[in-house]
C-alpha cells in the first residue's frame, strides 16, 4: 500500500478525523549526507592507514607482521568479501523477487543495477588482477643477484675484518699468557704482572689487557688491568663482559672471543687465553686481551651487516610481506568495490525509487485513495516531481470533496423529492379521489387505488394507452372527456359522468387537466374524479324532505275539513232512505278511510322530514340488537331469527332508539320478504332464516352489522333505488322505510350497503364507526 513512503491516509469524506502526528522516522544511512560524508572520510582514512602500513611493513617486527598484520588483513579481506557477496546477493535476490512479483520498474532497475555493478566490478577485478601481478613481480625484483653479491661481499669484508681483529687479539692474548709469569699471578703480585703487561699496551699491540687469577676451586677474579690511554675512559670495567669471558675461558670453553659494544661508540674485541703454570700446565689465571674498534668503523661494519641481514630477512619474509602487500591491495580494491557497489545500488535506487513511488502513488490515486501522499526524500528534480504529484493529488482530493459534497446535496434533495413523492403517492393512495396521470403519448403513467377501485381496473393498466383502457363500454365517457380536453387550455375539462356498477349508478365528478412544460409544451394530463354518489343521494334526500314537508303541509291541512265534511254528510244523510243512506255511508266511510290513510302517509312524510338529530351515546351494540330482536320472540314461528354476535365488541356511539328502528325496519323487510307468518321452506330446502350478525373490523375502525335473509332477494334494477324515498317493492309500503334507515345510518357517520346473499336472499350491511 505504501511505496516505502509515509502513507498519509485520511478518512473518507465528509468526516475528517484528526490524526495523531506520526512518530519521527529515523533517516536511513543512505539518506543522511553527514553519515555518507563520514563514511567517505573513514574510507579515505582507512586507505591512508593502509598506505602508511604498507610503507612501514618492512620495518615491522616479523612476528607481528606474520602473526598479526597478515592475519588481520586477511580477516579484513575475507570480511569485506563476505560483505560484498552479501550486498550483491541481497540485491540480486531483491531484484529477482521484484521481477518475479512483476513490480513496476523492476526490469529497469535490474538493468540499471547490473550496468552499475558491471561498471564497478569489471574494472576493479581487472585492476586487482593486474595490480596483484605487479606486486608479485615487484617483490621478485627485490632480490637480484648483483645486489645479493654486493651485500654478501660487503658483509664478508666486515666479517673478515672482525675475524682478523679477533684473531690478532686472540693471538695477543695467547702470547701475553705466555709472557706473564704464572707464579706472579698465582701469588697475586700485581706489580710483577703489570710490569710484564705494560710493554704490550705501551707498544700499541692491544688496547687493554686484564689478568684474572684462578684460585683453586673458584671462579677467576680480576687481578690487574692495563689499558691504553686511547681507550674510552670509565666504562671498561663496568661492563662485566670481561668477567664473563674470563669465566668461560677458565671453564675450558672453546668460545673465547666476545664483542662488547661501547656506549660512546665503537666496540671492544675481546679474546681470552688461559695462563698456565709452566711445569704442571695447571691454569692459574686468564688473560683477556681487548682491542678497541673505533666507533665509525664499527658502525660502518654494523651497517653493512644490518643491510645484509635486512636483505636476507626480506628474502625470508618475502611471502608474508607479499601477502601483506597483496592483502592491502585487495583490501583497497574491496573497499573501493564495496563502496562503488553500494554507491551503484544507491544511485540505482535513487533513480528508480522516486519513479516507483510515483507509480505506486498513481495506482493509489487511480484506486480512489486521493489522500495518498508521497513524502519527498530529496530536493532535486525528483523531489519537485513528487511535490507536483502531491499537489495534483491534493487538487484531485479537493475536487473529489467538492463532488462529494455536491453528490451529498443531490442525494439529500433526491431524498427530499423521494419523500415528497412518497408522501404524494401515499396521499394519492389514501384519498378517495381517483387520479390518473397520462403521458404526452397518451399512456397511463400512474393510477391510484381509488381510481382502480372506482373504475374497476387493475394495476396492469399502467403503461397502457388510455384510449385502449377507456374503450371499455362503461368507461367511454372518460375517453370522451379526454378527447374533449384541449392540450393547450389552462382550464380543465370537467364533467359529471355516471357509471353503472352491478346495477347501481356511480356518479363521478371528473376533470381532465392538461399538463404543460416550462415552455408550454404538452407533457401529459391528469384525470381526477370524485365519487359524488353519496352527495347526489344526499341532495336527493334533501329534495325529498322538502317535498315531504310541502306535502305534509299542503295535503294535511285540507284532510281534516274533508274528513269533517264526510262525517257531517254521514250524519245528515242518517235519516235518508236506506239505499241513499247506504250509499252515503259507503262513500263517507271510504272518504274517511282514505283521509286516514292520507293522514298516516302525511305523518310518515312529516316524520321523515322532521327526523331529529341522533343523540349518540357509547352503547353495547350487541345488547341493543338483542333487546330489539327480543320483540320478535314467538311472533313468527315459520321464520328463524339467528343471532351471531361477535364477542368483545367495543362500545359504539349510537342513538339506541334510532338504531332499534333501523333493525326493526330491516328485520320487518326480511320477514316480509320471507312470507311473514305464511313463510314456507325455501326452494333449496332451507328453512326461512334471518341472520343478524355483528363483526368488528379493527383495521378500518368500524363495526359491521349485517341483516341477511335467504328470501328471493332484490333485483339489481331495484337495488339502487331501494334507499330512495317513496320507492317500495311492497304494495302497501310508503317507500320511506329504507330511506329513513339510510338517513339514520348516515347521521351516525356510517354507511349501509345491500348485496345479494348466496344462494338467495339479501344482505344489508351497516358500518358504524367505533
Amino acid at each position: 500500500m505504501t511505496t516505502s513512503v509515509r502513507d498519509v491516509r485520511r478518512p473518507t469524506l465528509p468526516a475528517r478525523q484528526p490524526k495523531a502526528p506520526p512518530p519521527p522516522e529515523r533517516r536511513p544511512f543512505r539518506d543522511n549526507p553527514r553519515l555518507i560524508l563520514l563514511g567517505i572520510v573513514l574510507l579515505f582514512g582507512a586507505l591512508a592507514a593502509m598506505i602508511v602500513l604498507a610503507d612501514q611493513s618492512t620495518e615491522l617486527n616479523p612476528d607481528f607482521l606474520s602473526e598479526v598484520v597478515l592475519y588481520a588483513l586477511s580477516a579484513a579481506d575475507l570480511t569485506m568479501v563476505l560483505a560484498l557477496v552479501f550486498v550483491l546477493a541481497r540485491n540480486v535476490v531483491k531484484l529477482l523477487v521484484e521481477r518475479r512479483r512483476g513490480l513496476p520498474f523492476s526490469r529497469f532497475r535490474a538493468k540499471l543495477v547490473l550496468a552499475m555493478l558491471g561498471l564497478t566490478i569489471i574494472p576493479s577485478v581487472l585492476v586487482l588482477i593486474v595490480g596483484g601481478e605487479l606486486i608479485r613481480s615487484s617483490t621478485e625484483r627485490w632480490f637480484s643477484q648483483p645486489i645479493d653479491d654486493v651485500l654478501r661481499s660487503a658483509n664478508e669484508i666486515a666479517v673478515d675484518y672482525y675475524r682478523d681483529r679477533e684473531t690478532v687479539v686472540a693471538n695477543h692474548a695467547e702470547r701475553i699468557a705466555g709472557v706473564v709469569p704464572a707464579a706472579a699471578v698465582e701469588a697475586g703480585d700485581i706489580d710483577a704482572v703489570r710490569s710484564a703487561l705494560a710493554p704490550e699496551v705501551t707498544q700499541g699491540r692491544v688496547g687493554l689487557v686484564e689478568v684474572y687469577r684462578i684460585q683453586e676451586g673458584g671462579a677467576p677474579t680480576p687481578l690487574v688491568a692495563v689499558e691504553s690511554p686511547s681507550l674510552p675512559r670509565g666504562h671498561v670495567r663496568a661492563s662485566g663482559a670481561a668477567d664473563r669471558l674470563a669465566a668461560r675461558v677458565a671453564s675450558g670453553s672453546p668460545d673465547r672471543r666476545v664483542h662488547e659494544p661501547l656506549d660512546g661508540g665503537g666496540e671492544l674485541v675481546r679474546a681470552g687465553a688461559v695462563l698456565r703454570e709452566a711445569y704442571t700446565n695447571r691454569p692459574v689465571g686468564v688473560v683477556i686481551a681487548s682491542d678497541h674498534l673505533a666507533g665509525e668503523f664499527a658502525e660502518h661494519s654494523r651497517r653493512i651487516t644490518e643491510a645484509y641481514e635486512q636483505y636476507r630477512a626480506l628474502a625470508v619474509l618475502k611471502r608474508p610481506l607479499e601477502g601483506v602487500y597483496l592483502s592491502l591491495f585487495v583490501m583497497m580494491t574491496l573497499m573501493i568495490l564495496v563502496s562503488a557497489t553500494w554507491m551503484g545500488l544507491y544511485l540505482a535506487k535513487r533513480i528508480t525509487r522516486p519513479v516507483q513511488m510515483l507509480a505506486a502513488g498513481a495506482r493509489e490515486i487511480g484506486a480512489g485513495r486521493l489522500d495518498h501522499r508521497i513524502e519527498p526524500e530529496t530536493r532535486d528534480e525528483f523531489g519537485s516531481l513528487v511535490e507536483a504529484f502531491n499537489t495534483m493529488a491534493g487538487e484531485l482530493a479537493g475536487s473529489q470533496r467538492k463532488l462529494e459534497r455536491s453528490r451529498l446535496d443531490l442525494e439529500r434533495k433526491n431524498q427530499q423529492l423521494d419523500e415528497r413523492r412518497r408522501y404524494i403517492e401515499t396521499v394519492l393512495e389514501r384519498i378517495a379521489t381517483g387520479v390518473i396521470s397520462l403521458g404526452a403519448d397518451g399512456r397511463i403513467g400512474t393510477i391510484n387505488v381509488a381510481a382502480l377501485r372506482l373504475l374497476e381496473l387493475d394495476g396492469a393498466v399502467v403503461g397502457a394507452r388510455a384510449e385502449d383502457v377507456f374503450a371499455r363500454e362503461d368507461l367511454r365517457p372518460l375517453e370522451a372527456l379526454l378527447k374533449r380536453m384541449h392540450p393547450g387550455a389552462a382550464d380543465p375539462a370537467a364533467q359529471e359522468i355516471a357509471l353503472t356498477r352491478e346495477g347501481r349508478e356511480l356518479h363521478l365528478a371528473t376533470a381532465a387537466t392538461p399538463l404543460q412544460g416550462e415552455e408550454g409544451e404538452f407533457t401529459g394530463s391528469v384525470l381526477v374524479f370524485d365519487d359524488v354518489t353519496p352527495l347526489i343521494r344526499t341532495q336527493r334526500v334533501a329534495a325529498w324532505r322538502d317535498v315531504a314537508r310541502r306535502l305534509a303541509h299542503e295535503i294535511k291541512n285540507p284532510l281534516t275539513p274533508i274528513q269533517l265534511c264526510a262525517e257531517r254528510m254521514r250524519r245528515h244523510f242518517g235519516g235518508a232512505p236506506p239505499a241513499a243512506r247506504a250509499l252515503v255511508e259507503e262513500c263517507t266511510t271510504t272518504i274517511v278511510g282514505e283521509v286516514e290513510s292520507l293522514k298516516a302517509l302525511v305523518d310518515e312524510f312529516a316524520q321523515f322530514a322532521r327526523m331529529p338529530a341522533p343523540r349518540a351515546v357509547p352503547s353495547d351494540l350487541n345488547a341493543v340488537l338483542a333487546d330489539t330482536l327480543a320483540l320478535y320472540k314467538d311472533l313468527f314461528h315459520e321464520v328463524r331469527i339467528e343471532r351471531r354476535f361477535a364477542d368483545g365488541l367495543p362500545a359504539v356511539r349510537v342513538d339506541v332508539e334510532q338504531i332499534r328502528r333501523v333493525v326493526i325496519n330491516l328485520v320487518d323487510n326480511a320477514v316480509e320478504a320471507l312470507g311473514g307468518s305464511t313463510a314456507a321452506a325455501r326452494p333449496s330446502g332451507e328453512s326461512p332464516t334471518i341472520v343478524v350478525e355483528t363483526r368488528q373490523d379493527a383495521a378500518n375502525g368500524v363495526v359491521r352489522v349485517t341483516v341477511s335473509d335467504n328470501g328471493p332477494g332484490i333485483s339489481a334494477a331495484d337495488r339502487d333505488k331501494l334507499f330512495m324515498p317513496y320507492y317500495s317493492t311492497k304494495r302497501r309500503g310508503s317507500g320511506l322505510g329504507l330511506a329513513i334507515v339510510r338517513r339514520i345510518i348516515a347521521e351516525h357517520g356510517g354507511n349501509i350497503e345491500v348485496t345479494d346473499n348466496a344462494p338467495s336472499g339479501t344482505i344489508f350491511t351497516i358500518e358504524l364507526p367505533v
Binding site: P62, Y308, V316
Partner: protein, 179 residues
C-alpha cells in the same frame, strides 16, 4: 597471468606441507619423584628454509606446546596441564655467532652464545631432556596418560591466501603413571 599465480601458490602450499610432513617429533615422558619429566626431540627441522631464516639475522623461535593429557573414550581428551617452551636463536652475521635463549612459559630459563651451528641446532631442536614440566600429584595411579608436543616456528612463513594454515609438527607418547 592468473594461472601462473595460482600455480605458484599451489606449489608453495605443497612444498610447505611436504616439509612439515618430513619432520618428526619424538616425545618421551617419564614419571619420577613426583614430576612428569618430558624429553622431546624435533628431527629434520633444520631445513634449508629454517637455516636461511636463521642466517638472515631474524630472531627465529621454535615454540613447543606441551600438553599432559588423558584419553577419554566418550568425550574429548582432557588436558591435565600445559607448558610452553620457546627456544630462540639470533644469528649475528658480523660476528658469526648464535645467540640462544630458552624460555619456559614466558620466563627466560637460560641463554648462551655459540659459534657452532650444530650447537644452535641442538639448542633449538634437541636439548630438551627430562624437563620437569608437570607435577604428578594430580595424576591417578596406574592410569594411562599421554604427553603431546606441538612445535612450530615463528615468524611463520604464512601465505597470502589463507594465513591460518598451520604446519605444526606434533608428537605424542603415552605413559602409565605408576605410583
Amino acid at each position: 597471468m592468473m594461472r601462473r599465480g595460482l600455480a605458484i601458490l599451489l606449489w608453495a602450499a605443497a612444498l610447505t606441507a611436504s616439509l612439515a610432513a618430513a619432520q618428526t617429533l619424538q616425545v618421551t615422558p617419564l614419571s619420577r619423584d613426583g614430576r612428569v619429566l618430558v624429553s622431546f626431540k624435533l628431527a629434520d627441522a633444520f631445513t634449508g628454509e629454517i637455516r636461511a631464516a636463521i642466517h638472515s639475522g631474524l630472531t627465529i623461535s621454535f615454540v613447543y606446546r606441551i600438553d599432559l593429557k588423558r584419553s577419554s573414550a566418550l568425550w574429548l581428551d582432557s588436558t591435565i596441564a600445559s607448558a610452553e617452551i620457546t627456544a630462540t636463536v639470533r644469528y649475528d652475521n658480523l660476528t658469526r655467532r648464535y645467540q640462544l635463549t630458552r624460555m619456559q612459559d614466558g620466563r627466560i630459563e637460560s641463554a648462551k652464545e655459540t659459534e657452532r651451528e650444530e650447537d644452535a641446532q641442538a639448542w633449538l631442536t634437541a636439548d630438551f631432556d627430562k624437563l620437569p614440566l608437570f607435577s604428578s600429584a594430580a595424576l591417578e595411579a596406574n592410569s594411562e596418560y599421554y604427553v603431546r608436543v606441538r612445535a612450530h616456528t615463528t615468524p611463520r612463513n604464512a601465505s597470502f591466501v589463507w594465513p591460518w594454515e598451520r604446519h605444526d609438527v606434533t608428537g605424542q607418547a603415552k605413559f602409565t603413571f605408576v605410583q
